[in-house]
């Protein structure tokens, strides 16, 4: 009973941790707009957490500058499992207008598994909200997968996905489900 309750709750109480990896601040204020009375993300249980240790969903905005990349990855690795990674805006997906710059390391999916990518420059709050709600479903799936793995005898759950091999820079498609504006 408690296992089901926990699985259900996982989707109903996603806490966000927002990382700005060199964003122009456009996506950031749209994320804040999601929390305002007009859109009110709290009705789905969303809450901005102060520390990555509390978070379920990591929201990344910005084109991953050279300076911010290791910090972003470190903060992501500090988020406990099960976790979801959502990128906001085109920058973390492709580099957007900064693509090709010597100091821009986008896309994020080269380094970690991205669950949901919300495209747009900047995406509308509705789109962000849609992406976040989809992420909650993925969280629930991950929890179920973990339970399944535990049943099959893996004590620590499925292998963490963060240590996947880093593919070559060129041939990385933007992974995850894209949400069109």
């Amino acid at each position: 009973m408690f296992k089901n309750l926990i699985t259900e709750s996982t989707a109903k109480s996603p806490w966000l941790f927002h990382i700005n990896s060199g964003s122009c601040n456009g996506c950031d204020i749209e994320l804040v707009a999601v929390l305002t009375p007009r859109y009110d993300a709290e009705r789905f249980g969303f809450k901005l957490a102060g520390s990555p240790r509390h978070a379920d969903i990591v929201v990344v905005s910005g084109p991953l500058t050279q300076q911010s990349l290791p910090r972003t990855l470190r903060a992501i690795s500090q988020v406990p499992e099960p976790r979801c990674i959502v990128t906001i805006g085109s920058c973390p997906q492709s580099g957007n207008v900064f693509k090709g710059s010597y100091s821009v390391m986008a896309p994020l999916s080269k380094y970690v598994h991205v669950d949901v990518a919300v495209a747009g420059c900047t995406p509308k709050p509705e789109a962000i909200m849609d992406g976040l709600v989809q992420a909650t479903e993925i969280l629930k799936e991950k929890r179920k997968a973990w339970l399944e793995a535990k049943k099959n005898g893996l004590k620590d759950g499925p292998k963490a996905e963060t240590e996947q091999e880093v593919p070559a820079a060129e041939d990385v498609p933007a992974s995850g489900e894209e949400v069109q504006q």
């Binding site: 911010s68 470190r74 406990p80 004590k155 620590d156 963490a160 963060t162």
Partner: protein, 642 residues
């Protein structure tokens, strides 16, 4: 000659073995084992003698009057040297002997790297013998002699590690002000002798209360100030900080747990027995006022410290403030509470000083801004320290709470009964002081034992078993006296409180039945029953039972869930996952130091703190001046009041 093994001889044995031990240690010379055996045997024998006295004195309520060489009083004058042990003396004697015993156990491992250890043990035993002699003595001049012995032994021990920074300076300050105190006691003794032509305590107690004149009152003031310097109460508190900071930890235990108690003992004897003036509201006011000021001033001074041992030193005086306040109430509950707290103070403060000594030995510093994270390297010391810290901050169910709770009840009941709103402020100050004490021990635990471990202390080890054992004794006593409050009050503090209110018996057992009423006539002290009601209830064991059941239940539920499947840094997992979150930066050792931890509080009190900072100049001339001014004020006050 009576049987030498009769318990009437035990008081003198308990003093004698310590002084004997002091000489034997010197004879033992370079033999380390022999020296330790002598020292341990002496303190154990002394403790055993006093424990054997619990039955006759505490339970049967006997008062042992012992004349050295059987020189009993002749012609109405007590010329011989006398020891007199009532429940009050024995209570303090037991405290002191326990602290001395534990401190001696600790010293064996703690002092193993020092030079001239045989001198250390000699002085140590002289100091212990001096204090036990002081509390068991039935004679004012002997008290003075013991005060001198203990003061000089304490000064020498303060400067024992004289290569350490500040040790000589601290010893010098202590010497100067300590001598002023001793001189006051001597002068007071002389003036009383000139008036009463006797030095025997019981005889003086019978003579003085009916014969107040200017010289006896001035003698009172002199003696009061003399014992105040021994108890380090305001305005003598700065000395304590220096002395504790510089002395080895095992000696700090004695200075804080033993010397201050001897001062408190002196003040109780002086006010309740010699002058029998505590029925006066103005005398109660004096003690409660000084006690409350000591409490508050010293706890705020402690908050401003960034050295572990100096911080403990100020807390020591703050706790003595509780004792003095409660003892100054002149109610049965007050005395019981005060003595209870005195006992607890010896236990928890001893424990804390020993923990500080352990930290000092393993890391070489007691600076709160440099230390951190030692709980991972010294887990046992941390647990023992936490027991001491919770006890002193009055967290239930440890002993500090039991006695503080009684102090609050006592002060508030006194306020209600006497209708004097001043005592109400004592209650409020006591309660606030308690939470400030908690604050500064949170500061110590954060900046010494928790937080992050600095690089240079990566290889620190746990202290040897001998030191942990000594701390363990104190820790167990802290828990036991906290849980069994009723037993402690019944067997220890109530008999002592009864003794305080039974001056007539004290006089009569020394000088023969009927002496008090013959000399004092209608003014002869009347025995008052020690009965008190509590306005509230506190059952530590019941509470603990509830807590344990709940802990068990929650832990079970938690373990059935996922609480046990935690991720630890076992293998090299994802980089940075087990680092401290630092805004994404690579985790660097960063410790929030203890220097100015509670600035939100200090900011609002900044004028007070800067005033205090300027006042405590650290110059010995100033402190000597304070002593003189305090003496003048005390004389003036007592001349007006009495």
């Amino acid at each position: 000659m009576t049987n030498l093994l009769s318990y009437t001889h035990f008081p003198v044995y308990s003093i004698m073995v310590l002084f004997l031990g002091a000489f034997l240690v010197v004879i033992a010379g370079k033999s380390k084992a022999l020296r330790h055996i002598f020292a341990i045997c002496a303190v154990t024998a002394s403790l055993a003698c006093l424990i054997a006295l619990i039955k006759p004195v505490m339970i049967d309520g006997e008062v042992i009057a012992y004349w050295m060489g059987a020189r009993e009083p002749a012609g109405g004058y007590a010329i011989g040297i006398a020891l007199e042990v009532d429940a009050l003396s024995l209570f303090f004697g037991l405290l002191i002997a326990t602290a001395v015993f534990v401190s001696c156990c600790y010293s064996i491992t703690y002092m193993r790297f020092d030079e001239n250890v045989s001198q250390y043990y000699t002085l140590f035993l002289m100091l212990s013998g001096g204090v036990i002699g002081l509390v068991l003595s039935g004679d004012l001049f002997n008290m003075f002699i013991m005060v001198e012995i203990l003061t000089f032994a304490a000064v020498a021990l303060t400067a024992f590690r004289n290569k350490a920074h500040g040790a000589l300076e601290a010893a010098f300050k202590y010497l100067v002000v300590g001598c002023i105190g001793s001189t006051c006691i001597l002068a007071g003794t002389i003036m009383l002798y000139a008036q009463a032509r006797t030095l025997n305590f019981a005889q003086l107690s019978a003579f003085i209360p009916g014969n107040f004149n200017t010289s006896t009152i001035i003698a009172f003031a002199l003696l009061y100030i003399g014992f105040s310097t021994k108890a380090f109460i305001v305005p003598f508190h700065p000395l304590a900080a220096d002395a504790h900071g510089a002395a080895p930890a095992s000696i700090s235990v004695l200075i804080s747990g033993v010397l201050t108690k001897s001062g408190i003992y002196g003040i109780i004897r002086l006010t309740y027995f010699l002058f029998q003036s505590m029925a006066l509201g103005k005398m109660q006011f004096l003690l409660v006022f000084i006690g409350s000021v000591s409490m508050f001033v010293c706890v705020t001074m402690a908050l401003a410290q960034h050295d572990f041992k100096r911080l403990l030193a100020f807390h020591s005086i703050s706790q003595i403030g509780y004792v003095l306040t409660a003892c100054g109430l002149c109610t049965a509950l007050g005395i019981s509470a005060g003595l209870y707290h005195a006992m607890n103070h010896t236990l928890f403060k001893g424990l804390l000083f020993l923990a500080a000594g352990a930290v000092l030995q393993q890391t070489g510093t007691t600076d709160l801004n440099k230390l951190g994270g030692l709980s991972k390297r010294m887990p046992h010391t941390t647990v023992l320290f936490l027991i001491g810290a919770f006890s002193i901050s009055g967290i239930p169910p440890f002993n500090g709470f039991a006695s503080k709770w009684m102090v609050y009840q006592a002060t508030y009941q006194k306020a209600v009964e006497s209708g004097n709103i001043g005592f109400l402020f004592a209650t409020i100050i006591a309660l606030i002081t308690s939470v400030l004490t908690l604050a500064s021990f949170v500061k110590v635990s954060q900046s010494v034992f928790f937080g992050q471990l600095p690089e240079e202390y990566k290889d620190v080890k746990e202290v040897p078993f001998g030191m942990r054992f000594a701390m363990g004794i104190f820790a167990v006593l802290c828990i036991v006296t906290g849980l069994f409050r009723e037993l402690v009050t019944h067997y220890l503090t109530e008999p002592a409180a009864r003794a305080v209110f039974d001056v007539g018996k004290y006089i009569n057992s020394m000088l023969g039945d009927g002496y008090a009423s013959a000399v004092m006539g209608a003014n002869a002290p009347v025995r008052t029953e020690v009965v008190f009601d509590m306005a509230g209830t506190w059952q530590p064991i019941h509470w603990l039972l509830l807590l344990c059941i709940l802990l068990l239940a929650i832990t079970l539920v938690a373990l059935l869930g996922r609480y046990d499947t935690v991720s630890e840094n076992k293998a090299a997992l994802a980089e940075g996952k087990f680092d401290i979150f630092f805004g994404g930066e690579k985790s660097v050792p960063s410790q929030v130091g203890g220097g100015d931890l509670f600035w939100g509080f200090k900011h609002n009190w900044r004028h007070y703190f800067s005033f205090m900072h300027d006042l405590h100049s650290g110059i010995v001339n100033d402190y000597a001046l304070w002593a003189v001014v305090a003496l003048a004020l005390a004389m003036l006050y007592m001349l007006i009041v009495l």
